[in-house]
Amino acid sequence: MATLNVAQAINQGLDQALAADRRVVVLGEDVGRTGGVFRVTDGLLERHGEDRVIDTPVSESGIVGAAFGMAVGGLHPVAEMQFMGFSYPAYDQVVSHVSRIRNRSRHRFTAPLVLRIPYGGGIGAAEHHSESTEAIYAHVPGLKVVVPSTPRDAKGLLLAAMPEEPYEVPIGRATVAREGTDVTVVAWGAMLREVGKAADMLEEDGVNAEVIDLRSLVPLDTEAVMESVRKTGRAVIVHEAPRTAGLAGELIALIQERALYSLQAPVARVTGWDTVFPLKRSEHHYLPSPERIVAAAKRLVES
């Protein structure tokens, strides 16, 4: 079996979706000739033509607004924002229309639209290229928000949103990335890597961490989290996004509502800070590190 990275897996998923259904189109800035800034759409223009793999002007609201119209009109557009920090000009279209048309029209019109937004830091990029603001999307009623951490999930979750589903990972289902008994660590997306390193370090110190990869932020697999927390009695929530009003707060609220009496320690959170994401030379101070995760988990175990 071939080994693919996340970008290659999404590329394969898009390729299959385009081949399986004429209604699927891909649009965004530089998605055609150059294959996208992360090469996620590499080769798709050649294989599926410029009517279906569309290089757009630099116009985020235009991309999402037009994709919305396409979706209502019978297509299945997959629109790309180059970086999360550049998605905000399109936010009005997402919040005011994409997420609402089904409700506004009582199911009469729907917008089966996929918006792909690369997020996160750690690559020494320029300002606006390292944002992790998934919470502002998860907060919007009417959107489903998924954050894959593995190539398989990236492709599977993409295809789960497509009309044809040659293989899929269900939206709304978390997965146990690593089984353990002493402490539950909940994370999503790129943080799974740091959490994995932290779990290895904890293991060496005799602490057995269970890692839950949420995969889907909306809808959230509440039960998967509770099941683990009831077993371990301890939880650490890890996210790259800023702390205040972040999703860790939501998860902690859910845990105290549903599993308070199983807890042996307060729930901890390891997050980005409430600062602007720092530039290259300081970004390592911002990102949750395995050391910070280990320290939080140990505090809980030793308390």
């Binding site: 002007p57 235009g62 607004g65 037009a66 919305f68 119209g69 089904r102 029209s105 009469r108």
Partner: protein
């Protein structure tokens, strides 16, 4: 040339060119304008009685709306604003649903199957992109339907106006942009909205034609829209139409135009009344009588009354229905919240105790 005003019918009802439709069709469109005006006045009255939430009157803009809507084909898309009830109704969106929507009921946002009209846009400008997408989808799917989007002079200052016009030009999308320039965006005058001499002239920057038309002239609006629609359908790309008109009433039932405009200006535009203009024309053609006027007013008013009754007779939605159209299938979170709302008291899972 964008700066030349297209006009076929003068305010006195005299012809300056070839009428685009025959006398019988003119009577049909006139009747629609009469009915629309009755609805409009009914809407304001209902709001003042507390039976609608807010109402945005379109009196003075009947020709711009009916004339443009009449130039569309049955399956074409109309993507319009909260002030476009006349155009939407003419395309098959029932009065009853427009009232229901105004009364604050989501069921008013669901036009019957086959009516290709999106529920009215409340945000200003964003919906132009939706029309671009709808028209683009039709093109890619090999359908020959087009989309017409209607908006006001205020919307041309939004970024989405630029993005929609730009996309339409670059991809030669079969879309018609209809700006009903009614001179005011709530209180802001047209000359403070843009320094461009005309709105139609903005089309040049996007590489497609702009047309300036007397928006109170049913014939001229129909003519320029039909030309734009025909060009779009034939693959000729988009057109921007600026229909010069005037909102005779307030922005909505919650503002007072006396604070921002001169009554003399309103009187001037009242003399250019789009409905009266067609009446004068029909009278000149011996195709109008007072008796017929009474007859159509009575019939249209009865249809509106019936729509009001039906809208008001509809029982309110069950509380839990607010959750039901968020997704095709409710998420576990929504199911839980729905249960909490209708079952009384929060779902407090204390299962681990």
């Amino acid at each position: 040339m964008a700066e030349e005003l297209a006009q076929i019918l003068t305010p006195d009802g005299e012809l300056r060119g070839e009428p685009p439709v025959d006398l019988e069709a003119t009577r049909h469109l006139y009747r629609a304008m009469v009915g629309a005006r009755l609805f409009d006045r009914k809407g304001t009255a209902l709001q003042k009685q507390g039976r609608l939430a807010t109402y945005a009157p379109f009196e003075g803009q009947e020709a711009a709306q009916i004339g443009s809507a009449a130039a569309l084909r049955g399956d074409d898309w109309l993507v319009a604003t909260y002030r476009d009830a006349a155009a939407m109704w003419f395309r098959g969106y029932p009065w009853k649903l427009l009232l229901l929507w105004r009364a604050g009921d989501e069921r008013g946002g669901a036009p019957p199957e086959g009516v290709n009209v999106l529920p009215p846009s409340i945000t200003v400008g964003a919906h132009m992109l939706h029309a671009v997408g709808l028209a683009w989808a039709a093109k890619l799917l090999g359908q020959d339907r087009i989309a017409l989007t209607s908006f006001g002079d205020g919307a041309t200052s939004e970024g989405d106006f630029h993005e929609a016009m730009n996309f339409a030009g670059v991809y030669q999308v079969p879309v018609v942009f209809l700006c009903q320039n009614n001179q005011y965006a709530i209180s802001l005058r047209r000359d403070r909205q843009t320094a461009s001499p005309t709105i139609a002239g903005k089309a040049e920057a996007y590489g497609f034609p702009g047309v300036l038309v007397d928006g109170n002239d049913l014939f001229a609006v129909y003519r320029v829209t039909a030309d734009a629609v025909g060009r779009a359908r034939a693959g000729g790309g988009p057109t921007l139409i600026e229909a010069l008109t005037y909102r005779l009433g307030p922005h909505t039932t919650s503002d007072d135009p006396g604070r921002y405009r001169d009554p003399a200006e309103e009187a001037t535009w009242r003399e250019r009344d789009p409905v009266e203009r067609v009446r004068r024309y029909l009278q000149r053609q011996s195709a109008w009588t007072e008796e017929w006027q009474r007859e159509i007013e009575n019939e249209e008013a009865a249809l509106i009354e019936q729509a009001v009754e039906e809208a008001e007779a509809l029982p309110p939605q069950e509380p839990g229905q607010i959750f039901e159209a968020m997704f095709a299938e409710m998420t576990p979170q929504l199911r839980e919240q729905q249960q909490e709302l209708s079952g009384g008291g929060p779902v407090t899972p204390t299962g681990d105790r």
